[in-house]
């Protein structure tokens, strides 16, 4: 656990980290919906400060929904030049539901976690892996969360980030992904070997 923060910040960390992780998961789980975007637009300056860059750029309340839906599809769904944000693809296993996906499912099982029965998202989707971290954090299993982060999400996040940075036409997803990476780096630092 990062010991560099001041203590009041650390207290805030403990209780709100799961929610923060879920917020990040929500940004990547599916296209941003209007309520979320309205909030982001309303608190744009705050977000810019938080993320270190303005995630919205020229986007307004009128055009953000559509523009981001197109961008999400372009980066993560298809048809060309996209990278599904799932571990097995980004790690180069060349298929959906690869060995990594199985390893993730096994990790979930050992932790008493499983996909919801109505959930069609892949277990190794970035949103699911973030949700896993959130569930572990909110049940005080920070060490297991760190374990999961290093075994899985942190291994492929750089590859996903490189793709998003290279191929995004808007600032939104690079900004959030960079923020995500920074958060994880802070929360689950690499221990020197």
């Amino acid at each position: 656990m990062a010991a560099e923060n001041n203590s009041s910040s650390a207290q805030a960390t403990d209780s709100a980290l799961p929610t923060a992780l879920r917020l990040l998961a929500s940004v990547f789980a599916r296209e941003a919906d209007q309520p979320l975007l309205d909030q982001f637009i309303a608190r744009r300056d705050e977000l810019t400060d938080v993320l270190g860059r303005d995630p919205l750029g020229a986007l307004t309340a009128d055009n953000a929904l559509e523009a981001l839906a197109v961008e999400y599809c372009h980066l993560f769904i298809g048809p060309k030049g996209h990278l599904p944000p799932v571990e097995s693809i980004v790690l180069g296993e060349g298929q959906l539901w690869g060995p990594s996906t199985e390893a993730v499912v096994e990790f979930y099982e050992r932790c008493g976690i499983a996909s919801r029965s109505d959930e069609r998202t892949f277990p190794d989707h970035i949103s699911m892996e973030l949700d896993c971290l959130a569930m572990l954090e909110e049940t005080d299993r920070h060490a297991e969360a760190g374990n999961f982060a290093h075994l899985h999400l942190l291994r492929w996040l750089p590859g996903l980030l490189a793709h998003v940075q290279a191929n995004a036409s808007l600032a939104f997803y690079p900004a959030w992904l960079e923020g995500l990476q920074a958060t994880l780096a802070d929360e689950y630092p690499q221990t020197d070997k």
């Binding site: 560099e4 998961a25 929500s26 296209e31 539901w97």
Partner: protein, 957 residues
């Protein structure tokens, strides 16, 4: 917040240099949490911790069957086995759909993932063996580019800009209409409730859900505007079957043949029944049958044959006619080679008539047309006629020409003359199993008042064709563009990739992308095909390994059976079986169509089919048998799910035409001897009296049998038109084609030929028709043909990485002597060449006979294994969509992660090769598609796509 603390940066993000900002990000995000995003993502849930089952080092001894010819160990079976890691694999029998052969397979699921496919030993056709394509089926499920979510376009059609919709919103859009890229479109409900239901068009490619599809579209919705894909491959062949033996398929009982002639059919690499006809041809070979293959190339089938006879494309018909002449005139040891008894009793000609008609088709004449030496024609015909049972296998190399239907008609005639029909080791009419249909036999009957009589726009049959009994799908785009027969408002494609699989691809795309022609295009598929790329709305289909169906294939075991298709794994992402999409649409449209869809799932429908058939068996005395040919003792549905098949016959059946049938209560047509039920065919009594069987519309639907010499037999059952139950060699349906055909070909005939060719066309007997444009081919031109290879199917397997690895480019096969002549003496293997279409225009197609793009580039493969006047380009390659493996368009990311499997140094797209920007140009990773320069102009008689007729010139690029 401290700004000077060192924190290691495992991500190495070069943008994130301000160490303190990281802390701020976290803290800031915590504040941002107050943003009140109430519904934060929650994809996981707590469950009881599972104790990890101890890994076994070996699995249970399987109960499978051994095949004594190959060893004492058992074949993998439905009980499953343990994989390399010791994990148990559950076996789920199902039916392959990598091609149309529909082999019985077993999908093996390990830890929730399908990992292996084997042949199902219980399936009488393929008996536990499958081909490379079947083995690669797992690649379809986990293809990284697989369509998993509905998409709606946001830019212009074909621009490639999409956004995702939920399945609910996508189905709402299709059912109720809405807005697409700023334009309003009507939905299905509006069309259903209008007086023009035919404005809903459904165009299917590889659909194995015919009953569900016809029920939804025709019976319930009332639209008959349907497209298929048959003419891309073999509509000419089916017409040839229908003129003579009746309903397709023809089945070569090869395992027991003593002599097999193969014309333009590559059974060891392809064919409608690929795996299981290939198995049986090899069995014949092992039993010392002689196999002779006529082909433009030394295909792998030709390579395993005893003789390869090179053929000039489109001249197979001449060889067949000449061989028939030989069979009629030669004797061996004083015995004739033809089966006079069969011709006399079952056909509608006499030997004398045939001898007179075939007199001019001498082996010498055959040589003059085909280049095959007269002696060879004569020798092979005599061998074929004196080593019985024999048969002729034909396919697309034989029929994919202007004269394809005529060739098939002549070939079936030759087999009949030789006495090969319906005998063991000969050629038989198809036996296919069937269960009662839960839709049209039950749901429609329960609510007959809600069913509709389907009305259609006449756009599927080309224009001014003679008898396109299986339609002319490659001309549908032109018919829509021309518009005088109507245009669909909603054009829905289902696993149909017409933009790519037909010719003149540029023109296809132009028409599809024109929003004025078709307001709303919906594509249902597993991959972003070239056609889906031109759509407005895309629905992700479930792969064949994730869904249900009642399956049936032509039985090469000569006994009927049905096969199950059932999910090995649940559909990935939001993909949905088309049958379930139909149900969801019916629910939304409401009214009659909703009531007519009583099953909530496709599983329920398939189960109902089995239950209905079980009830019918009890009434009719028919039975189900198990895979050991024993009467089935257990519950049929449970047996079906466990073993994958239900047999409906337990011994091989031959001579089916000679089976006695009852004429009781039926009408006997005096003129033809056909015994039929006019009421079943909806023919009025007045028409029966005035028009008789032959003249009454769709009378064939009431066919019962054929009366010959006072007895009624099953005969050769007609299909699509009112052929009698005889094996018709003389056709009453062909003389009326003479005028159209002569109009096409007269400018290409010599003055000596024209009169007798015209006379023969009117005779109603199989006769010579050249591929007209080939008569004008100069010695600077070649005929371009297309072909298949063993690891690919036409267009749907190139997303399978294991197959694509073996074959991903399609160099043009060229004879080295030809290459030196046309490209210069320095020509080398792999040189880049230009292939230019120079197809003369037929008068009938003036202005519409050529292609928008006339030239492609390709690398050349110099090989002695091809006729010197031909150039062969397989049509598997040259995708410009269909995902990264097919098109060679991986994601380019710094650090080299392409999103596809990188592995070591042999990955084809990592050799620095890129997909071509212009898909008409050769790509080192994806080859080039020949269809750009193949015209869509249908063959006049059948509507066949002429994939093997294009005249081209070549030059160094």
């Amino acid at each position: 917040m401290t700004k000077d603390t060192k924190i290691t940066n495992p991500a190495g993000n070069k943008h994130d240099e301000d160490v303190g900002r990281r802390v701020a990000v976290k803290a800031g995000l915590l504040a941002a949490v107050g943003i009140g995003s109430g519904a934060l993502f929650h994809g996981l849930t707590s469950v009881a911790r599972a104790d990890k089952a101890p890994r076994s080092t070996s699995g249970p001894k399987t109960q499978g069957q051994a095949d004594p010819d190959i060893g004492e160990l058992a074949r993998a079976d439905v009980d499953g086995y343990a994989g390399r890691t010791g994990e148990k694999r559950v076996g789920v029998p199902t039916t392959c759909m990598q091609c149309i052969a529909a082999c019985g397979v077993i999908g093996y699921r390990e830890k929730g993932r399908i990992v292996k496919i084997e042949g199902n030993p219980h399936c009488p056709n393929n008996r536990g063996m499958i081909c490379a394509k079947g083995q690669a089926g797992v690649n379809q499920v986990y293809d990284p580019d697989r369509l998993l979510y509905p998409l709606v376009r946001t830019g212009k059609r074909g621009e490639g800009k999409w956004k995702r919709l939920s399945m609910k919103d996508a189905l709402d859009l299709l059912a109720f209409g809405g807005e697409i890229a700023g334009r309003k479109v009507d939905g299905l409900k509006t069309i259903y409730e209008s007086d023009k239901p035919q404005e809903f068009m459904f165009h299917y490619g590889r659909s194995r859900i015919k009953n569900a599809m016809n029920h939804f579209q025709k019976t319930a919705f009332g639209s008959g505007t349907q497209g298929n894909h048959t003419s891309i491959c073999e509509t000419a062949k089916w017409l040839g079957n229908e003129l003579t033996m009746g309903k397709h398929y023809d089945v070569n009982d090869a395992a027991y043949s003593k002599y097999i002639l193969i014309f333009g059919a590559n059974v060891l690499e392809a064919h409608t029944s690929h795996s299981y006809i290939a198995q049986r041809v090899i069995e014949a070979k092992a039993a010392r049958a002689k196999i002779v293959t006529f082909d433009v190339r030394l295909s792998n089938t030709a390579a395993k044959s005893d003789e390869w006879v090179p053929v000039l494309p489109g001249t197979d018909l001449a060889i067949i006619l000449a061989m028939t002449n030989v069979l009629l005139n030669e004797t061996v040891n004083g015995k004739v080679l033809y089966d006079e008894a069969f011709i006399t009793k079952w056909s509608n000609v006499t030997i004398e008539e045939l001898k007179a008609h075939y007199a001019r088709y001498t082996p010498e004449w055959g040589e003059s047309e085909s280049g095959v030496p007269a002696d060879t024609i004569k020798r092979l015909a005599i061998e074929y006629g004196s080593n019985k049972p024999s048969s002729i296998i034909t396919y697309r190399g034989f029929v994919g020409h202007y004269n394809g239907a005529q060739a098939e008609w002549a070939s079936k005639t030759l087999d009949a003359l030789a006495g090969n029909f319906n005998v063991k080791g000969g050629i038989t009419t198809k036996l296919g199993g069937k269960c009662k249909d839960g839709y049209n036999d039950k749901a429609a009957k329960d609510h007959a008042d809600l069913t509709r009589k389907a009305v259609k726009f006449k756009i599927s049959d080309g224009d001014d064709l003679h008898m396109p009994t299986h339609h002319s799908c490659q001309w549908i785009h032109e018919m829509i563009a021309e518009g005088s027969h109507g245009r669909p408002k909603i054009y829905m494609t289902y696993v149909y990739n017409g933009a790519y699989t037909t010719g003149d691809c540029q023109r296809n795309r132009e028409i599809l992308c024109n929003e004025e022609y078709i307001p709303f295009i919906v594509a249902v598929d597993v991959a972003m095909s070239e056609t889906a790329a031109c759509a407005d709305l895309i629905l992700p289909d479930a792969t064949y390994l994730e869904r249900w169906a009642m399956e049936s294939a032509a039985s090469y075991a000569q006994k009927k059976f049905v096969q199950i298709r059932q999910p090995v794994v649940k559909p990935l992402g939001e993909s949905m079986d088309m049958q379930d999409i139909f149900i969801q649409l019916a629910r939304r449209i409401g009214g009659g169509i909703n009531t007519l869809h009583p099953y909530d799932t496709a599983e329920k429908y398939v189960r109902t089919c089995v239950e209905l058939q079980t009830a019918d068996n009890a009434k009719s005395g028919k039975m189900f048998y198990d895979s050991n040919d024993q009467p089935l003792k257990s519950d049929p549905w449970e047996y079906f799910k466990r073993y994958g098949v239900l047999l409906q016959g337990n011994k091989p059946s031959y001579n089916t035409h000679a089976k006695a049938v009852s004429a009781e209560g039926k009408t006997v047509d005096a003129k033809t001897g056909v015994v039929w039920d006019p009421h079943k065919a909806h023919v009025s009594d007045t028409d029966v009296a005035s028009k008789g069987y032959t003249g009454s519309k769709n009378a064939y639907k009431g066919y019962v049998g054929q009366q010959i010499d006072g007895k009624t037999y099953a005969g050769f059952k007609p299909d699509k038109f009112n052929k009698s139950g005889r094996f018709e060699i003389r056709s009453g349906f062909m003389p009326s084609a003479a005028e159209k055909v002569m109009a096409d070909i007269k400018d290409f005939l010599t003055p000596e030929e024209a009169p007798w060719v015209a006379e023969h066309l009117k005779s109603g007997l199989p006769s010579w028709v050249p591929v007209p444009e080939h008569r004008k081919r100069t010695d600077k031109q070649l005929v371009m043909i297309s072909f298949k290879v063993n690891v690919q199917i036409h267009s749907r397997s190139q997303n399978c990485k294991w197959l694509q690895e073996v074959y991903h480019t399609n160099p043009a096969w060229l004879n080295p002597a030809t290459a030196r002549k046309m490209l210069g003496k320095g020509v080398k293997e792999g040189d880049l060449i230009r292939i230019k279409s120079e197809m003369p225009e037929l008068p009938w197609r003036k202005g519409k006979g050529s292609t928008s793009v006339s030239e492609i580039t390709a690398r050349v493969h110099l090989t002695e294994a091809i006729h010197p006047d031909a150039i062969a380009v397989s049509y598997h390659c040259g995708h410009w969509a269909y995902g990264r493996y097919a098109s060679g368009n991986p994601v380019e990311v710094e650090g080299g992660n392409t999103g596809a499997e990188p592995a070591g140094e042999n990955i084809w797209w990592q050799e620095g090769n890129k997909a071509a920007k212009d898909p008409t140009q050769w790509s080192e990773v994806a080859g080039v598609h020949p269809n750009w320069i193949i015209p869509n102009t249908p063959a006049r008689v059948s509507g066949q796509f002429r994939s093997n007729d294009t005249i081209v010139s070549i030059a160094k690029a």
